[in-house]
Symmetry: C2
Subunit: 182 residues, 2 copies
DNA sequence: CTCACTATACCGTCTGGACGGTAATGTAAA
DNA sequence: TTTACATTACCGTCCAGACGGTATAGTGAG
């Protein structure tokens, strides 16, 4: 029943994020995206009737991907006192690569309102983190660290090496697993 | 000796960041910035000969402001085992407001290369954090939290309330001040 | 006379998007 | 089985407007 768009749509979305990352979000034009995705501008506009629709899709991909991977990993953490935070941490470790965040940057450049879905997602995540964690402040600390890392990846800042990152994250995970905390 | 441009230059820079924040970085045009800054396009181009020069200045303002406020605050933290991290933390608390970050976003949208000064600054900061801190990993944790908060402010995400933020930061500061840590 | 602009006009390029086609595939009545 | 129309998934062209940048003439304060 559901066979949405196996090829073109995804190629377009990927082309857009790649241009944003390599040339800057300001260089996402319909022509450029169409050329990179390997179809004509008319074809692009068939899949996304306006540029705004493209941008919204970019954000949507980012959010649903994040939400799904978090949900998937959270399922494996039964009976942990800070399972949501631990899952969030692991979700980041799993997919540092996709780099789908550049698309979000492009959407903001076009219109800050496009990020509202991401805002809502993060808002509810923070609310859950505060409500469900054994140590809410520690959970928020982990959340902020991940946000920091994601932000750095967004701006292509590689100040922190992979091993430093791993060490900090491991330490955070260890603290989240300990039941006793000051 | 030091009184370069008291009014126009600053008004232009401020106008550019405001447009970026309110309408999105993609809407920074020379005409729009000039209108908002209250001068003509010719006047703008007198101060910044090209749009690229404007963007570079936007990043430069952001970096020097961050560097100066950090340096200023660090001076007050003699004899602390993790003074740089503590200073970085306090520097963030002092100036959450300026919102000069939107300008950096605009610069990235134009050309990712414009952020190089910020990259260099952050790189050297991380190096110092690792070299000078009694507990380098904890210092990096604090660094990442601040980066996360700064990133959220950049994208206008207000998921974390002021009191939650303050609590997390206080806890981090307390840990950084303790000499004994596991 | 210079500095720091203002104001206006203009140029070439790029951009989003509207539009008219078209080839391939499907459906379904005669 | 043929004919007729519908839908999908595009292509290629065109255009009005916005854009960055240049140029030029003028103004008023110091």
């Amino acid at each position: 029943m559901r066979k949405p768009r196996p090829t073109s749509r995804d190629r377009i979305l990927r082309a857009a994020t790649e241009i944003a990352r390599e040339q800057g979000a300001g260089h996402i034009s319909l022509d450029a995206v169409a050329a990179r995705a390997g179809l004509s501008k008319g074809g692009l506009l068939y899949n996304f009737p306006t540029k705004a629709a493209l941008m919204e899709a970019l954000v949507e991909v980012f959010v649903t991907e994040a939400a799904e991977s978090l949900e998937r990993i959270e399922g494996g953490y039964r009976d942990e006192p800070n399972r949501l935070a631990l899952a969030f941490l692991d979700a980041f470790r799993k997919n540092c690569r996709p780099r789908t965040g550049s698309g979000v940057l492009a959407a903001i450049a076009e219109d800050p309102g496009f990020v509202d879905p991401a805002r809502r997602f993060q808002r509810s995540l923070v609310a859950r983190l505060k409500a469900e964690s054994a140590d809410p402040d520690l959970a928020l600390t982990a959340f902020l660290c991940i946000e920091g890392l994601r932000g750095m990846e967004l701006l292509d800042m590689d100040s922190l090496g992979a091993e430093d990152t791993a060490r900090v994250l491991d330490r955070l995970a260890a603290l989240l697993r300990e039941p006793e905390r000051a």
